[in-house]
């Protein structure tokens, strides 16, 4: 078995790529996908530690995170569709009103 550091660095790389995506992209859908990537990176950490400590709790939390990601995607896309219907755009920096 490899040292756990490998997993941590992989997870870190994915997390930062996701974060960079959130910051740089204007398309809300891709921003949402980047958030999914971040959550996924966290999952790698949890599962790796769960394996190395021999405690299944980490995997339970990873499951919760997947559930959370599903909820987030559903709500996020719902908001996006509602927004798209009103403004006909999916660019994040055009979401500049509190109410429309």
């Amino acid at each position: 078995m490899m040292p756990i550091g490998h997993y941590l660095i992989l997870s870190l790389a994915l997390l930062l790529i996701g974060a960079a995506g959130v910051i740089t992209r204007r398309n809300v859908i891709i921003v949402l996908m980047s958030i999914e990537l971040i959550l996924n990176a966290v999952n790698i950490n949890l599962v790796a530690f769960s394996r190395y400590y021999g405690d299944v709790a980490g995997q339970v939390f990873a499951l919760f995170i997947i559930a959370d990601a599903a909820a987030e995607a559903a709500v996020g896309l719902g908001i996006m569709i509602a927004f798209f219907r009103n403004r006909e755009t999916v660019l994040a920096d055009e979401m500049d009103l509190l109410k429309w």
């Binding site: 569709i81 798209f84 219907r85 006909e88």
Partner: protein, 380 residues
């Protein structure tokens, strides 16, 4: 394809989910537009919000051709309009010219004409049933229908040598005497057909998927039918009891007893039931007709060169698809001055837009099928 998907400006958000209107081109190369019909559909998602028929891909100028042919020479051309019910087309044309000549076919000819025309009606309805079922996704009825249709075509072949574009009748009567076993063949067919038609009913009539696909689909009420000039099973399924065989009897129909089936709802399912019942009635007519075929000549005396007196005539018959009318103007010469044909498919097709609005794309296929159009007749 009016526009591609990938490069378009962002659409107006006036449809479900903010998706834009989709214009889809159904046909002329589409498996279920029954030939070369082209329908431009405006869709909201999968729901039709507008449509436009584009026809003429099979236009051959049949009416114009008539002006350059003698009356007899034009007779085979009408077979090629509604090529799946050539016999009926021929009957209408021959009777129209006879009317113009003020001649009448002898009784024997009229009875044989009736038998063949009713067989043709069954054949046409069978082809409709098979393809309609195929459109709705039932694969098997097509082959059963073709099997029965084949028997009818064999009778035609024995009678006149042709199967599809038969040119079975001549102006003034028949060219050929009935062959020896005609009655027997027709009787055998009619005897077996009752059980066969029950088979289709077993497969479709009470099938809940079939009912689900056809009930309340393509509604057309009686008033709309009449306003649009729809005729045939389409009209009768809406509850209007109008059949030229009863209303203005021609050939030998006044001698036979039969019912005119009518629907109540005017939906696709009713049209299906009406046509199935019409096949049964046609079978009864055939059975009655072969009981007693009068003896006598088969051709009236009309002369070799037809020169009808100047004048005009309109004669309509109840074709398998609806009222098939011929309007012929004669200037006293050997060729018609003008022939105008009222094709049932063309006029029934007008109802398409009204019927498909608000339905799904899937239903469009079912509705085109239920109209029972033949593009050769629509475009002429």
């Amino acid at each position: 394809m009016t526009n591609t998907l990938h490069d378009r400006t962002l659409p107006k958000a006036d449809t479900i989910l903010g998706a834009d209107e989709l214009v889809i081109n159904m046909g002329p190369q589409h498996p279920s537009t029954h030939g070369v019909l082209r329908v431009k559909l405006k869709l909201d998602g999968e729901r039709v919000i507008g449509s436009e028929c584009v026809i003429g891909y099979l236009h051959r100028g049949v009416e114009k051709i008539a002006e350059n042919r003698s009356y007899q020479q034009f007779a085979p051309y009408v077979d090629r309009m509604d090529y799946v019910s050539a016999v009926s087309n021929g009957l209408g044309y021959c009777e129209a010219v006879e009317k113009l000549l003020m001649a009448e076919a002898p009784p024997r000819a009229r009875v044989i004409r009736t038998i063949l025309t009713e067989l043709q009606r069954i054949a046409s309805h069978l082809l409709w049933l098979g393809t309609h079922a195929l459109d709705i996704g039932a694969l098997t009825p097509l082959f059963y229908c073709m099997r029965e249709r084949e028997e009818i075509l064999k009778i035609f072949e024995k009678y006149c040598g042709a199967r599809l574009t038969t040119h079975a009748f001549r102006i003034g009567g028949l060219q050929y005497e009935a062959y020896d076993t005609l009655e027997k063949d027709v009787e055998r067919f009619c005897k077996s057909f009752e059980a066969r038609i029950q088979e289709y009913s077993d497969l479709l009539t009470s099938n809940s998927i079939w009912i689900g696909r056809t009930r309340n689909v393509g509604l057309l009420n009686a008033a709309d039918c009449i306003a649009l000039g729809a005729s045939g099973p389409v009209l009768r399924a809406s509850g209007v009891k109008w059949d030229l065989r009863k209303a203005t009897p021609y050939a030998a129909y006044d001698q036979y007893k039969f019912e005119i089936p009518v629907g109540t709802n005017g939906d696709t399912y009713d049209r299906y039931l009406v046509r199935i019942e019409e096949m049964r009635q046609s079978r009864l007519i055939c059975l009655q007709a072969i009981e007693n075929i009068p003896a006598g000549p088969i051709m009236a005396r009309v002369g070799k060169v037809l020169k009808p007196p100047p004048g005009e005539v309109y004669h309509a018959i109840e074709g398998p698809k609806g009222i098939l009318g011929y309007y012929i103007v004669s200037d006293g010469g050997t060729q018609p001055y003008r022939v105008r044909i009222r094709p049932p498919s063309f006029i029934n097709l007008q109802a398409l837009d009204k019927m498909i609005r608000g339905h799904l794309v899937t239903d469009v296929v079912a509705i085109i099928g239920t109209l029972d159009i033949v593009l050769g007749e629509v475009d002429r």
